[in-house]
């Protein structure tokens, strides 16, 4: 059996159980909030239009954005609660996913519920009043039973939507079947992507069929069908809860990672180091670039690797670019003071924008630095990714070195490397730790004027673990231990198409190749 497939199967119980629990909780909460609203809205037009309007607006917000928006909102609430009550809750993972999916589930329940109640035959409503029912009796004995089939159809729609949208909770740190899809997309592991999609579809279809059974029971007034459907649904949720509670020895340390291969490898490297010391660690991958630091400062994750230039500009909002050592020093102080975050140290390589050439071409022209390049640039063609030419790094390079190229072209990254290989361009913009630099025998040009800001890989620790001896003991051997060449090889082993390695395998290789004890 394909190794990638069996790896996916091993992860399935964890991902599926969390997906089921999240979806079930969101649907249950959605029902709990929507049903009273349905009753009120069907009685009062003044409530009906705002409620249905709001639900429709929510539906038009892309689900990924909805999930992402809840994170800063909860973070602010968490800070407020810490300030007011001294209690801080996790703004990452389950809670934002639950709230966003709950909102998402409400429209079909509200719309169908209100339609169902409003479409109850007026003669029947008059009869209910005429025989002497109270408002409540009329609702419970007549209107709700008659509206139930339409309402159930809405609940079915909501369930399918929620199960589908729950795959998008991965980037806000909630494990779901989306983990297969997001990680698979990044390292081009299509088996994992397809596996994740198929699992989500199968779950949605199974749920839909069970709810269909309940719906037909409601419609035909066959209680047995209703009970079988409800019992099987509950059984599924209970099984998921059992798997989740049984399987999860509560992780003591959570290692975060952003959403690209290098980050996956480093997260596995760190969690492996923690486990070597006999402690429990788990990873939380595919965090959005901005979310990762916020999650760390809020103690939602314990440790992750970021890059000095990114933190300097995006987190601290600094516009100046002091020399490398000074920058790390200042950043260490500022992060500690402003966020309580500990900058433990650098790993030894950087992942910065760089200019790269084919080694043979560079040697034949006698180019080793960007200063050398400036003399030949008017005869050469430069290729960049979509972002490069609008980045401040490029502006700085052009001005400081006086670069003018014969031609400048934009490429999707894969095609950019091919264009360099086939000599359509002579120089490209690259990330310095990209595996293809080693694989394609490229030369990264030196930057003697230090125009490109440093993007050293730095290890950051959350405030609550600032002086944690276990973490320090596990992480200190990594500091300064990873040269750029090894990181490139590790990245390439995950990114290449043939003999592809998993991030865990690459992390193991990196650990032994770098002689980390």
């Amino acid at each position: 059996m394909d190794e990638r497939f069996s790896a996916a199967v091993r992860l399935l119980p964890d991902y599926l159980s969390q997906h089921v629990l999240l979806s079930a909780a969101a649907l249950a909460l959605g029902l709990l909030v929507s049903l009273p609203l349905v009753v009120i809205a069907s009685r009062r037009a003044a409530v009906r239009w705002p409620v249905l309007g709001f639900a429709s607006v929510v539906q038009t917000v892309p689900s990924l954005a909805l999930l992402a928006l809840f994170y800063p909102l909860l973070l602010a609430l968490s800070s407020a609660s810490a300030y007011l009550f001294g209690y801080r809750f996790s703004a990452l993972g389950f809670l934002p996913s639950l709230l966003a999916l709950t909102l998402y589930s409400m429209l079909p329940i509200l719309r169908n519920g209100v339609t169902g109640l409003m479409n109850v035959d007026r003669a029947i409503v008059e009869a209910a009043r005429g025989v002497g029912m109270t408002e409540r009796q009329r609702l419970l004995r007549v209107e709700l039973p008659l509206a139930a089939p339409v309402l159930m159809a809405g609940i079915r729609t909501a369930a399918v939507w929620v199960i589908g949208a729950a795959t998008l909770s991965t980037p806000v740190g909630q494990t779901s079947l989306g983990n297969f899809i997001f990680s698979g997309l990044q390292v081009e592991n299509w088996v994992a992507v397809l596996f994740g999609c198929a699992a989500a579809v199968a779950l949605a279809m199974a749920t839909d069929q069970l709810l269909a059974l309940v719906e037909s029971g409601v419609k035909k007034r066959a209680p047995l069908r209703i009970w079988i459907g409800v019992a099987l649904l509950l059984l599924g949720v209970l099984a998921a809860a059992a798997v989740h509670l049984g399987g999860a020895r509560k992780a003591t340390y959570v290692v975060g990672a952003k959403n690209f291969s290098e980050q996956y490898i480093l997260a596995d490297l760190i969690s492996g180091a923690i486990r070597k010391g006999g402690h429990v660690a788990s990873t939380r991958v595919d965090l959005g670039s901005v979310i990762a630091f916020r999650a760390l400062s809020n103690n939602d994750i314990d440790v992750y690797v970021d890059y000095s230039g990114t933190v300097w500009a995006n987190v601290l909002g600094r516009k100046d670019w002091p020399p490398r050592a000074q920058m790390v020093q200042e950043m260490r102080t500022a992060l500690r003071q402003e966020y309580g975050v500990v900058l433990l140290g650098t790993l030894g390589f950087e992942n910065a924008y760089a200019l790269a050439m084919r080694r043979d071409r560079a040697e034949s022209l006698g180019i080793g630095t960007i200063t050398d390049l400036a003399q030949h640039a008017p005869e050469l063609a430069l290729g960049g990714d979509f972002e490069f030419f609008s980045r401040p790094e490029w502006r700085a390079l052009r001005e400081r070195y006086g670069l003018t190229f014969r031609q400048m072209r934009q490429y999707q990254p894969t095609f950019m490397y091919r264009a360099l290989a086939s000599r359509q361009v002579d120089v490209i913009s690259a990330f310095s730790s990209d595996g293809r630099i080693a694989a394609d025998h490229l030369l990264v040009l030196q930057d003697p004027l230090h125009v490109i800001p440093p993007y050293d890989a730095i290890v950051l620790i959350c405030p609550a673990r600032a002086n944690d001896p276990v973490l320090r003991k596990a992480l200190e051997p990594l500091l300064g231990a990873i040269p750029i060449e090894l990181m490139r090889q590790a990245n390439y082993s995950v990114d290449r198409d043939n003999d592809k390695k998993s991030p865990v395998q690459a992390a193991q290789w990196l650990s032994s190749a770098a002689h980390i004890r």
Partner: protein
């Protein structure tokens, strides 16, 4: 038994009135028919008695007690109500439909079952129908169930709003006659709204004619049929008499030829 004093109702905040300062006394065991054009206010007047419509101004007293003394639902449980829409509960079977008001009143299940059996006999339906759903019955059978349901909690007052209006003529005639019999037998006080003058003439002891929210005639069928000073009322009441005369003439004609 029923007393309405100076009652009014406007559905547009007082610009026009569906019912305007109407006073009406209904004696115990009376069978009163209210007739009039659509929009004359007859249904509104009827619904004021069981507070499906609340009167604005004036007082409504039923069985010696103002109707707003209790919650509307407790008043309605003491008054039978049958209407053209029938309104059987489609998710309940015939027995459950008939037993609904006793159940709301908290009767014992055995009493409810006995009462339901008694009522299905009373409205001349086979007992096997008790297990059926309303959708399995014809229109006439449905309204028999409707009548049985309204009688279930032994009300002394029955309000009927075009009760047989949607039924075919033969069923309408049969059901009307049967109900008149029940009215006598059980000593009911009945107020029936109808647009069918013939039905009013044949069933009731007293006819009230309404126009534009007011009562324009009030009397025994016999007297109203003879003559009335109001030309509108005269024309209305003239119709059944002329129909009857035409039918009689037609039959005599046939007899002569035969």
């Amino acid at each position: 038994m029923i007393s309405l004093r100076q009652v009014s109702k406007s559905f547009d905040g007082g610009r026009t009135f569906a019912v305007r300062e109407v006073t009406l006394e209904v004696a115990e065991r009376a069978f009163v028919a209210i007739i009039g054009d659509s929009g004359s206010g007859k249904t509104t007047l009827l619904k004021m008695i069981n507070r499906l419509v609340d009167a604005e101004g004036g007082t409504v007293v039923v069985a010696g007690k103002p109707v707003d003394a209790d919650a509307p639902y407790s008043l309605r449980r003491r008054i039978g109500y049958v209407f053209q829409g029938i309104g059987l509960f489609p998710h309940l079977n015939v027995a459950e439909n008939i037993g609904i008001t006793p159940r709301l009143l908290g009767w014992a299940e055995a009493d409810i079952r006995a009462r339901v059996a008694e009522l299905i006999d009373l409205v001349s339906l086979p007992r096997s129908y008790l297990e059926r759903m309303p959708s399995e019955l014809s229109g006439g059978q449905q309204q028999r169930v409707g009548v049985a349901r309204s009688l279930a909690a032994r009300p002394s007052i029955m309000l009927m709003d075009e009760p047989f209006g949607a039924l075919d003529p033969i069923t309408r005639d049969t059901l009307g006659a049967e109900y008149r019999h029940l009215h006598e037998q059980m000593g009911l006080t009945t107020v029936m709204v109808t647009h069918d003058v013939m039905e009013a003439v044949l069933l009731s002891d007293r006819i009230i004619v309404m126009r534009q929210g007011a009562i324009v005639a009030d009397g025994q069928p016999h007297d109203l049929l003879l003559t009335h000073p109001d030309p509108g009322v005269h024309a209305l009441m003239d119709m059944p008499r002329r129909q009857a005369e035409r039918v009689r003439a037609l039959m005599q004609d046939r007899t002569h030829r035969g």
